[in-house]
Symmetry: C2
Subunit: 505 residues, 2 copies
């Protein structure tokens, strides 16, 4: 297969200033600064642009820029920084210290913005990036409005003010609703960008193409032919330097409510009427609506939370979760979540969806497993024990691609059947240098394209299910454990074994 040229139609954004809340945080350091750098490098940035980092730490501009440069270096190991590009970006970066609980920082922010707008000719256009914990969202909005940094909706303005919210949006349905009410009351929906960066991943976008541009899959994509679906996001890394954040979130909030549920929606949705974002969102929401409610008892039975203990993982001995810096030594935050969901509609009746994600597991893998039913136990099945049901494996990482596992004849006189697979490797056909998810998303927000952002109703529907699980575990005083570097807790195996199935990991 020959590599194909990736011609992209890049819209150049208008002049604008970005204000990042949580400007020294993990997300900024690991993802956002490299997204801005790459946009600058790839000429996706407007000439008139500035970026203000807003955070509590007292830093000079120079210190802040060094922090970002170091972060860029650290988290882009395979990339050599082009210092001329960095200079172009760096000359537009500022730091503004402030506390989300105090008006002072926001009053000065307003004046600072006015000054920078003149200097950089940004015409009043602003993007506020909430790269912070969701518990801060409402505080920040309140300060922005009270200190007139931002214009409440209904007031005329000839510039745009957009808000980007990092996931998770809230920490349960109730808190998410509180945020959303405040946000929707003060801002127009088209200015609100709720991030789930999985939506910008090529493989996720490809899911719809795979399903609806191929006559082959759709006839098989239902309870008649599919035995179960597994959505797996296993990590080998621990919580790293994010102990403080993570201990307040856990796998359910950090992965399940957003990423895993998005993959589930794309896998299970009906074909939309057309390709408009609202039509697609409507079908995704219908999936959430069809997920069977679980009583506390059912939710407990159909989910597993667990926490890793020390063990040999990713090449060396690793601390247990509760020994990590920033984590409460008595923490009962889960680093592993698995759940079994059922979708009560015509397509999926009787087909369980198993979702799992965890840290410090044996293997890094994010994938969707479509596990087909067995062929009737006749003919080749009669004699053979080793025949496997067909499996379609859609890999997001690593080795992005698709494999179809099937049975073939083993060469030789006897009719022995063995499993083989047809494989499609994404990087073999396309260059691996596709845009990073955050680069795509920030650019989209800059040009006002909401296609790859989640809607409130998806978030709401997803919290409904997620809350049922967290509620079921509320009274648990001590989490099940799994040793770092293993395939997760025994209970997750048992969840499958109860159904006579196993994880495809």
């Amino acid at each position: 297969m020959k590599k194909q040229q990736q011609e992209q139609l890049i819209l150049k954004p208008e002049a604008q200033i970005h204000i990042i809340f949580g400007a020294t945080g993990d997300l900024m350091q690991r993802k956002l600064i490299s997204a801005y750098y790459r946009m600058m490098k790839e000429h996706m940035m407007p000439k008139n642009f500035a970026l203000i980092g807003f955070s509590r730490r007292p830093l000079t501009d120079k210190e802040y820029k060094k922090l970002l440069h170091d972060a860029l270096q650290q988290y882009s190991r395979n990339m050599k920084i082009d210092e001329r590009v960095w200079q172009r970006l760096s000359s537009r970066i500022y730091y503004h210290p402030g506390n989300f609980n105090e008006a002072a920082g926001f009053r000065t922010l307003r004046r600072f913005l006015a000054k920078l707008e003149k200097r950089h000719h940004t015409k009043g256009n602003k993007v506020f990036y909430f790269a912070t914990l969701s518990k801060n969202f409402n505080k920040i909005i309140k300060q922005l409005l009270a200190n007139k940094v931002i214009t409440r909706k209904g007031n005329e303005k000839d510039y745009f003010e957009r808000l980007i919210f990092e996931k998770p949006f809230g920490h349960d349905l109730h808190s998410a609703r509180l945020i959303n009410q405040k946000v929707e009351a003060a801002f127009d929906e088209h200015d609100i960008f709720r991030i789930d960066h999985y939506l910008a991943k090529e493989t996720v976008q490809n899911l719809m193409v795979l399903r609806f541009a191929n006559a082959l899959f759709e006839p098989l994509w239902n309870h008649k032919y599919i035995d179960n679906v597994q959505i797996i996001a296993d990590e080998v890394l621990g919580v790293g330097s994010r102990g403080g954040y993570y201990d307040n979130a856990g796998a359910l909030e950090d992965m399940f409510q957003n990423h895993l549920m998005q993959l589930l929606m794309f896998t299970a949705m009906e074909p939309p009427a057309d390709l408009k974002p609202t039509s697609i969102a409507n079908e995704k929401i219908k999936v959430l609506q069809s997920i069977k409610d679980m009583s506390t008892q059912q939710a407990r039975l159909n989910s597993v939370k667990a926490q890793y203990t020390k063990g040999f993982a990713n090449g060396k001995m690793r601390k247990g979760y509760t020994e990590v810096n920033g984590v409460d030594p008595d923490s009962i935050t889960e680093t592993f979540i698995a759940a079994r969901l059922e979708i009560s509609n015509w397509r999926w009746a009787g087909v369980p969806f198993y979702l799992r994600s965890g840290k410090r597991l044996a293997k890094k893998t994010t994938k969707i497993i479509v596990y087909f039913k067995e062929a009737p136990r006749i003919l080749f099945y009669e004699k053979q024990v080793g025949i496997h049901p067909n499996v379609l494996e859609i890999r997001l990482q690593p080795d992005e691609g698709i494999s179809l596992h099937f049975n073939i004849k083993k060469p030789g006189k006897e009719m022995h059947v063995v499993d083989a697979n047809m494989d499609f490797c994404h990087e073999c056909l396309f260059s691996p240098n596709t845009a990073e998810a955050y680069q795509v998303l920030i650019h989209d927000a800059m040009v006002g394209d909401k296609t790859l952002f989640t809607t409130w109703r998806e978030i709401e529907g997803s919290w409904r299910i997620t809350d049922q699980i967290s509620h079921a575990w509320r009274k648990v005083k001590r989490l099940p454990k799994y040793r770092a570097g293993t395939h997760g807790p025994k209970l997750a195996e048992e969840l499958m074994e109860r159904d006579g199935r196993h994880w495809y990991i």
Copy 2:
């Protein structure tokens, strides 16, 4: 994928003598001697074994052995002959001159056999291999019986006498019936081995496994999802030294009636009740029975015969067919055949099967193309012209394997769809050193296993269709032509274009 060990359960044949009619012919030189050599090398031969070459040419044993050794060298270019193995084989090879029209050679053959049986302790077991034109089959049988080389059925005997018939069995339905009547009158069915060596090819045997050991394919394998099936056996070689044989046969007899029709049967058959050879044959025969009869006019419209003219092929300028040694300069024998067949049953109603085979074409390829219907012209299809229907490609040679062609999203902002394929490479999983078809078949005949041989009813049913085509071309005085090295005659394209389709070559 790791290479898997091929453990085979090889039955050691009993003591026996083989008598090859057509012992200096093309088949013996190109295929059979190497099959015997490999069996010897791989310890599949009984200790008590002898081989008699029977042919018209006056040769000494020594000359004959040299001819075979040279042939082995010439047609096994990648193989170094192990001379010790050759010695073991060679010490068991004899030559016996004779004419199929004269009793003398058969009378002496009987005495010669008696002598060799003593020398090699072969206990009276004999295999007569008819590696000659089918017009000689009846002559030889008559001589064998008249000169008591062989025992007519019904007579008690404590040894076996088997007959192997090379394809094509007859040159039309009538001649095939005449042969079969003679053969069945004189011999027990379990002693009659009718060869179509495609049945011994791994990929052909794999067709049933692919279809019936995978839950994925069977639901799609019908007129609801399949648009058309193409069975293609294109060769780059010309007729070579086989001009004399070929000019009496042509592509219809040499490829279509046997190999192409066998592939069609395996592709189209219903699942058999079990894996017994008779159960499988029954389903294959049902396919032939369901093929729509064609009037002369219909057969003419739905088939194309053609002959190659000189042209640049396979690296150099090549003679036209009628200039080849042994070919009648006014020959109207076809070197290319294409036909469109319809199978009138519930599964295949409305799905055309296109078969083609030709010599001196642009590319060597033998494959089965399952061409799926288009997805509904909605969603991604609305905007895009370049979306291709899904295609399952089952390759027999070269690059034995399976590919599934499907549509995926092209990375980038726009929803562009491009085609990709999942590929399974047979040689990547299994060693390429699988047994040659003739090695498998001769060994099977030696141990009395008829599984991979064709039945009379398959041959009969296949001639019924083939005769309709040859009949339609009977009055044609001049064949359409195609230049050597091209993709065949324009008429073959037109056969497809009439249906709005094209060859997948």
